[in-house]
């Protein structure tokens, strides 16, 4: 069994993905803002329940891929709810989804304090113990997604963006958790 976690290298530091997506002939299908941190998770899951029921993105991605998107956003929001520092401001979290061919582009803007996600991912990857209790959330987000970018925008806001797709050049997405030391 593997002694150390292996994560597919899908994080990019370059914010070029936003420009690429902006140039594509597609439009944002869903743009939703949330201001209540205590209900944020339930509100987002309610959106997904609705989308699954409506088969909203069935033309772009499979249901399993939509479930990976739900999991990815769950992990990010869990991180926001548990760890983000809003410095006393009212939280503002905006979710946008842009459909593409066999993929969705997703972005989440927030007004919390920026943090070094790349550094955090490296730290957590190195610190991953066999069958860990904690520390897998961001790694799971990374494993689920492509072109993961987190950067400051507009001075006091940050944006997480990524794509999620049916096809994956690197093979099935997976996070290799060590099961034994």
């Amino acid at each position: 069994m593997e002694a150390r976690a292996f994560i597919q290298p899908r994080v990019t530091l370059r914010p070029a993905r936003q420009e690429q997506v902006a140039a594509q002939p597609c439009r944002i299908a869903d743009l939703t803002s949330f201001r209540n941190l205590s209900t944020l998770m339930d509100d987002v899951h309610a959106l997904f329940d609705q989308w699954e029921q409506e088969e909203r993105y069935a033309d772009s991605i499979t249901l399993d891929t939509l479930m990976r998107l739900r999991l990815s956003l769950h992990e990010w929001i869990a991180n926001l709810v548990q760890h983000a520092n809003f410095s006393g401001q009212a939280p503002e979290v905006t979710l946008s989804i842009t459909p593409g061919e066999q993929k969705l582009h997703c972005s989440v803007q927030d007004n919390a304090a920026f943090f070094d996600m790349i550094g955090e991912l490296d730290t957590r990857q190195d610190a991953l113990t066999p069958m860990p209790d904690r520390g897998m959330g961001l790694l799971m987000l990374q494993a689920c997604t492509d072109h993961l970018v987190y950067c400051p925008i507009d001075g006091d806001r940050n944006q997480l963006s990524f794509t999620i797709s049916d096809s994956d050049d690197a093979g099935d997405p997976w996070l290799n958790i060590p099961f034994s030391s």
Binding site: M1, M41, H45, L63, D64, M67, R68, R70, L71, H74, E75, A78, V81, Q82, M131, P132, D133, R134, M136, G137, L139, M140, A143, C144, D172, P173, W174, L175, N176, I177, F179
Partner: protein, 118 residues
């Protein structure tokens, strides 16, 4: 058999050593601590084999999975087992993503899992 319910979870004491936990709608960062406490109490009461019923579960996140790992680390040195039953599609997505099928056996139904552990 004796059935009891915690806030988020239902427990079915199948035998002196085997317990079925109906996970319910979610096992995530919001109730993982409750799950861990529940499991610790069961281990202290002598249960070694745990069937996790995921038939109704729409959310299993990294913290929820971590609480299952914690249970596994407790019971496996005692010869105990943790198995999954009636795994829902969202949970299956997590199982595939993390490849935890290497560690946790899966059964189509709770009955199948109970019979396998008998």
């Amino acid at each position: 058999m004796q059935a009891t319910s915690a806030m988020s979870f239902s427990i079915d004491h199948h035998s002196k050593v085997t317990v079925v936990i109906q996970v319910g709608k979610a096992l995530d960062f919001r109730n993982a601590a409750e799950f861990k406490t529940l499991c610790q109490d069961e281990v202290q009461a002598g249960r070694r084999n745990f069937v996790l019923d995921f038939s109704e579960t729409g959310i299993l996140d990294s913290t929820g999975l971590g609480s299952i790992f914690s249970l596994y680390r407790q019971v496996s040195p005692m010869g105990g087992q943790v198995v999954f039953a009636a795994v829902s599609r969202p949970v299956q997505v997590v199982v595939q993503l993390t490849r935890t099928y290497k560690v946790f056996r899966q059964y189509p139904t709770v009955l199948d899992a109970r019979n396998a552990l008998s």
